[in-house]
Symmetry: C2
Subunit: 267 residues, 2 copies
Amino acid sequence: MEPLTERTPRVVSSVKLHRTADRKKTGEFLAEGANAVGSALDGGHVSELFYTADAGARAMALVDRALKSGLRASLVNDKAARALGDTVTPPGLVAVCRQIDVPLSQVLGAKPRLLAVPIDIADPGNAGTVVRVADAVGADGVVFAGNTVDPHNGKCVRASAGSLFHIPIARERSIDSVLDSLTDIRLFATAADGEVDLDDADELLDGPTAWLFGNEAHGLPSSVLARADHRIRIPIQGRAESLNLATAAAICLYASSRAQRRGKSIS
Amino acid sequence: MEPLTERTPRVVSSVKLHRTADRKKTGEFLAEGANAVGSALDGGHVSELFYTADAGARAMALVDRALKSGLRASLVNDKAARALGDTVTPPGLVAVCRQIDVPLSQVLGAKPRLLAVPIDIADPGNAGTVVRVADAVGADGVVFAGNTVDPHNGKCVRASAGSLFHIPIARERSIDSVLDSLTDIRLFATAADGEVDLDDADELLDGPTAWLFGNEAHGLPSSVLARADHRIRIPIQGRAESLNLATAAAICLYASSRAQRRGKSIS
């Protein structure tokens, strides 16, 4: 079997999925590497698979699974793999996937107990890391609100380490719509000058909670801070001005997850 | 005054500090942007400053401070600023700094109550984020052990957001030497299958603690795990396999910092 090349039309059109506009047009995106491709297959999100001879040998089970599910899985040459890949040393295993975001109503209909709500988040690495943390602490979903990076961006997919396929993700451009929909759940905003110290927040954290995380440079808009039930500050002890978005989100989401487990084990 | 160009010998030799080998040879490194340069000036680490006309207008106070301290501060053209910068859109303000690491004995001589010890860490972004988190939670230092990335790497400096200049940093290639030196302090290793759940670790965490964090891909070597007083697992609730290094470190370091504050307020 001759491998497809970087000039094969299907490869060419898949490579275009690196661009936001083409992802929007087609409703598809790329996920690379055994970890992400395995999670995408688990979730039934894959529409097509490309692999190099080397990668196919290493990930034979995944290629087999794709073929047995009736998916098209095609051998590609190294040049095609580099074009399809998003990294300097591409893994040579790339899935074309259907986009994973679901309507906000679906996330909220499941009566979530813990949500991450990044607002106006700009960096795809941060976006993916928040999704990974949310998955790890057992959150029920991530709602990207406002003018955020596309969670199907290659760097976000990579940073999520498969978690993008594990938990429900919603996108909603209107921040007000998101906040209006978040009823029956406490809204906690992270803020450097919040009135509640996270050290003292355990009693507040054991109920259903949505954490609002702001933009990397500007934080949360004051209108959002005003609508939150509480504004929480992570106490800064040293001379750092702040934590970065992903580490702050990790600390807050773990604190909630732990408080909810304790609440359950007591009641 | 004519701006220096990308061909001015001092600019040329400073640009070389992007390379590990040249940093090693000269004992200098680059820090860019108002935040990092300000922290470097605070710590007395700057040996020379370069700025573009635009950046100089925005950060006039910093340039003045450098000049008043008797430092050489030179106007450079945009091409020189791009060469000195480490990012796609360089801030146009770059300090040549003396390297900040101190001997391990100095970090340990200060009787630290909380240390971060990344071992064999490979990614400069993770390294810088760990330094930033350690600073934010009030840790007493960061000890880079084993075969780690150079903390003076440009991405590390940027990710640390100035914190590299705030807390003592040591580097020691021999992991055994580091572990041998860490007496009078509990060694906690992060491990996916650790015998202690972080949820239940509060009582263990209120004493002097050094957190050992492992390589991004391989975690900690079994010899290190065996030498730790406790192996701690962050409970994973969802389908994520793990957390990334920086978010795991944030959760552990914040947990220690909080437990130590509580211990103090009770005693």
